[in-house]
């Protein structure tokens, strides 16, 4: 399981931000060739991101490049960026499985023979993209996650974007469900007010409750809050360990059914407990170290 609790956007034409992007501890850094780059600077950003990918050490952060949409510079972005070995490409405004097929073919053509296959994360930010979410997630084995882009999406709906997010509730649950059905991750839209930490906390907690596995981020200051929410708590870990203990004990006694504090422990409960423990292990939270 790849950890994508936080995915931090970094403007692709800003050398200072690009060279320091690895120090914030985001699970993924997204080097952005799309919205963060002025139209006249697309070429310069492409050269810069390509060079940066070859030389800057992003530590444990996954390197993701957001390319431009398919109807603009996607082809030239992919041709320049893929040979520089990013971990993944974030494709904006994906509207159909055909879009993913097209991107996957371009990536395959640009990859060097010895390179690790480049993954695809589909950014769904139009009403059509939301409708097609499941087919997009299943379109190609390279797809590892669906991400929601709520700003463009609400513009497409003609709805007012609010901090409460009622206008994107349906889209959120569709993306989460489609991703889960396709066995890929779901990543929530960014919280765009970088100065509102309480709002970010509430929005991230809601995202986690709904089932998202991570959140896009537009400011390094948001990362700690996002991680705090998505990290399993000590109570979660304790509960998960008790569940696993109970089911193992039951199995040893020849019973497939276990109970914990009077509640039945069945397969979905065990699966949830295993996910929590796996995440805790990845984060070094086991044994009460943190």
């Amino acid at each position: 399981m790849d950890l994508r609790r936080s995915m931090l956007f970094i403007p692709g034409n800003n050398p200072g931000m690009l060279q320091n992007g690895g120090v914030f501890g985001a699970d993924s850094v997204i080097l952005d060739l799309e919205d963060a780059v002025a139209p006249m600077e697309k070429d310069a950003a492409r050269f810069l991101v390509a060079q940066v990918l070859r030389t800057v050490d992003y530590g444990v952060s996954e390197t993701v490049v957001r390319i431009n949409p398919l109807d603009t510079f996607a082809a030239v972005d992919i041709k320049a960026i893929v040979p520089c070995c990013p971990d993944a490409i974030l494709v904006p405004k994906v509207e159909s499985a055909a879009d993913i097929h097209q991107v996957a073919a371009m990536i395959a053509a640009a990859e060097k023979p010895e390179q690790t296959p480049v993954k695809i994360i589909a950014l769904l930010e139009t009403p059509c993209g939301i409708v097609e979410a499941y087919h997009i997630a299943k379109a190609d084995p390279r797809v590892v996650a669906l991400a929601l882009g709520a700003e463009d999406y609400t513009a497409g709906l003609g709805a007012m974007r609010t901090k409460e997010g009622t206008e994107i509730f349906t889209a959120r649950t569709i993306v989460i469900n489609a991703a889960a059905a396709a066995n890929v991750q779901s990543i929530d839209t960014p919280y765009t007010d970088a100065n509102d930490e309480e709002g970010l906390l509430a929005d991230t907690q809601l995202a986690k409750r709904l089932g998202f596995k991570g959140k896009l981020s537009i400011n390094p200051r948001q990362i700690d809050v996002i991680h705090t929410v998505f990290n399993p708590s000590l109570n979660d870990i304790d509960w998960a360990q008790q569940v696993i203990h109970a089911i193992r004990k039951a199995e040893a006694e020849g019973s497939g059914v276990a109970s914990l504090n009077g509640k039945m422990v069945d397969l979905p409960i065990v699966n949830r407990a295993e996910r929590i423990l796996h995440l805790a292990e990845l984060l070094g939270l086991m044994g009460g170290e943190k």
């Binding site: 050398p15 310069a44 810069l48 030389t55 800057v56």
Partner: protein
Amino acid sequence: MASIAKTAQAGTLESSDVMITVAPGTQGSGIVIELESIVLAQYGEDIKIILEKTVKDQGITDIYIKAVDRGALDCTICARTLAALSRAGAVLKEEII
């Protein structure tokens, strides 16, 4: 032999960036570099080597380059030079991009 057709510029004067201006050189003029840098004393020669290597790797031998450096890393100097060359009409070698 690659060449450039016109004067072009890439980069900014922001911290950690470098602004590169390239102009066609006359035949036989060689690679002429004019460099301003906030770290000229410490890294001036290194920056010139990167500039020279980047254009030579593209097969360009006669060119004028002006670089105004604000503490750019090697990768930024290389990227901005390539962007300027591309904007000046050079056909770049694909593997460098």
